[in-house]
C-alpha cells in the first residue's frame, strides 16, 4: 500500500464508522430473526461473515421458509444484481491483476461504493475498502449479538433505530446530487421508479428498478450540463 493508499484507507475507516453503526442495528435484526426461524446460532453468523450482504441474507431468510431452496437462492442472487452494476462501474479504478481486482471488488457494499465515488467514473478503492472493514466487523458481530440476545423488534422500533440507515443514505445522497444536474435527475428518476414499483413488487426489486434511472447517461451530455452545481465541501 502506498502513502496515498494508506491515507485513503484511514479516511475510509473514519467514514465507515457511521454506516457501521447502522449496519450493526440491521445485523441485530437479522440475527434475532434468523434465531427465531430456527437457523441456530452458527449458521447466521457464518452467513454474515461470508456473504456480507444484508439484502441477499434477508431475502434468503424470508424466502427459504416458503419456497424451494433453489428458488430462495435465485431470489437472493437476483437481489444482488445491483452489485454487478457497481462492479462494472468501479472496474477501471481497480488495480493489479485479475485476481487482485476481483478481491478488491469484494469490498463493494452500498455505503462503501458511494463513499468511494470521487466524481465522474473515478473511485478510490482503498477508501472503499476502509469504509467496508468496520461495516463487515459490525455486520458479523451484530449478527452474533442478535442471535444470542434476540432483542425485541418493538424495543428497536421505540429507539428509532430503523431510521439509522435511511438517515445515513440521505446524507450521502446530498453529497452526490451536488456533483451535477444529471445526478439530480438520476436521483429523482430513481426515486420515482422505486416508489412506483413498490406498488406492485417488494422493496428489493423496486431497488433494482431504480438502477434503470442510470440509463439517462446513455444520452450525450450537453456542455452546459457538465457544469457542477456543487456548493461546497
Amino acid at each position: 500500500m502506498t502513502g496515498s493508499g494508506r491515507h485513503s484507507f484511514t479516511r475510509g475507516l473514519r467514514l465507515g464508522i457511521a454506516p457501521a453503526l447502522a449496519t450493526a442495528v440491521l445485523a441485530l435484526n437479522f440475527g434475532a430473526e434468523a434465531r427465531a426461524r430456527g437457523w441456530g446460532t452458527v449458521a447466521p453468523v457464518a452467513f454474515s461473515a461470508l456473504a456480507f450482504s444484508g439484502s441477499a441474507q434477508f431475502t434468503l431468510l424470508s424466502s427459504l421458509s416458503g419456497a424451494t431452496a433453489l428458488a430462495a437462492i435465485v431470489a437472493a442472487m437476483v437481489i444482488n444484481v445491483r452489485y454487478l452494476v457497481m462492479s462494472v462501474a468501479i472496474t477501471s479504478s481497480l488495480r493489479g491483476g485479475r485476481f487482485a481486482r476481483a478481491l478488491q471488488a469484494q469490498a463493494i457494499v452500498d455505503a462503501s461504493f458511494v463513499a468511494a465515488h470521487d466524481g465522474d467514473d473515478r473511485y478510490d478503492v482503498w477508501r472503499m475498502i476502509g469504509v467496508s472493514v468496520p461495516q463487515w466487523v459490525c455486520w458479523t458481530a451484530g449478527t452474533a449479538v442478535g442471535v444470542l440476545a434476540a432483542p425485541s423488534p418493538d424495543l428497536m422500533h421505540r429507539l428509532g433505530l430503523d431510521v439509522a440507515f435511511p438517515a445515513f443514505f440521505v446524507v450521502l445522497l446530498i453529497d452526490e446530487v451536488r456533483r451535477s444536474r444529471r445526478a439530480v435527475v438520476a436521483c429523482l428518476l430513481g426515486a420515482v421508479i422505486a416508489a412506483g414499483l413498490l406498488f406492485v413488487t417488494g422493496p428489493s426489486y423496486a431497488l433494482l428498478g431504480a438502477a434503470a434511472a442510470t440509463l439517462i447517461g446513455l444520452r450525450q451530455r450537453r456542455s452546459d450540463e457538465a457544469v457542477a452545481v456543487r456548493t461546497g465541501g
Binding site: A18, L21, A43, L50, S53, L60, I73, A76, M77, N80, Y83, L84, V85, M86, S87, V88, A89, T91, S92, L94, R101, A102, Q104, A105, Q106, I108, D110, F113, V114, D121, H157, L159, G160, D162, V163, A164, F165, A167, F168, F169, V170, V171, L172, L173, I174, E176, C187, L189, G190, A191, A195, L198, A206, L207, A211, A212, A213, T214, I216, G217
Partner: protein
C-alpha cells in the same frame, strides 16, 4: 444440511457477482456511454434505497421526520454521524410523545 448449502451457494454467488466487473471486463476501457451510465449509479441507487427504506405498504411518518432532520442538519454542515444520530433521536422522541 439444506440451510448450509443455501448459505454457501448465496455466499459464493455473491463473490462472483461482485467480481463480475474485473472478471469479465479485465483491464479494458469502458465505452464512453457506459462510463456516463456508471457515473449515475450512486445517486440513482441511493434514491432507491431511501425510498424502499421509507416506503412499502404504509409510510411511517415518524421515520420520515427523523430522516428529514438528518438531511436538513447535514445541509447546515453538521457531519454525517451527528446528523444521522440526531435523526434517530428525533424519531425516538416523536414516537415517545405520540405513544
Amino acid at each position: 444440511m439444506k440451510l448450509w448449502l443455501c448459505v454457501l451457494a448465496v455466499s459464493v454467488a455473491n463473490w462472483f457477482i461482485k467480481a463480475g466487473g474485473p472478471l469479465v471486463l479485465g483491464k479494458r476501457e469502458l465505452p464512453a456511454a457506459l462510463i456516463r451510465v456508471t457515473q449515475l449509479t450512486a445517486p440513482a441507487l441511493l434514491a432507491g434505497l431511501i425510498v424502499t427504506d421509507l416506503g412499502g405498504r404504509t409510510i411511517d411518518w415518524t421515520q420520515v421526520i427523523g430522516v428529514g432532520v438528518a438531511g436538513i442538519l447535514n445541509l447546515l454542515r453538521l457531519p454525517m454521524l451527528p446528523a444521522a444520530a440526531a435523526g434517530v433521536a428525533t424519531t425516538a422522541l416523536v414516537r415517545l410523545v405520540a405513544a
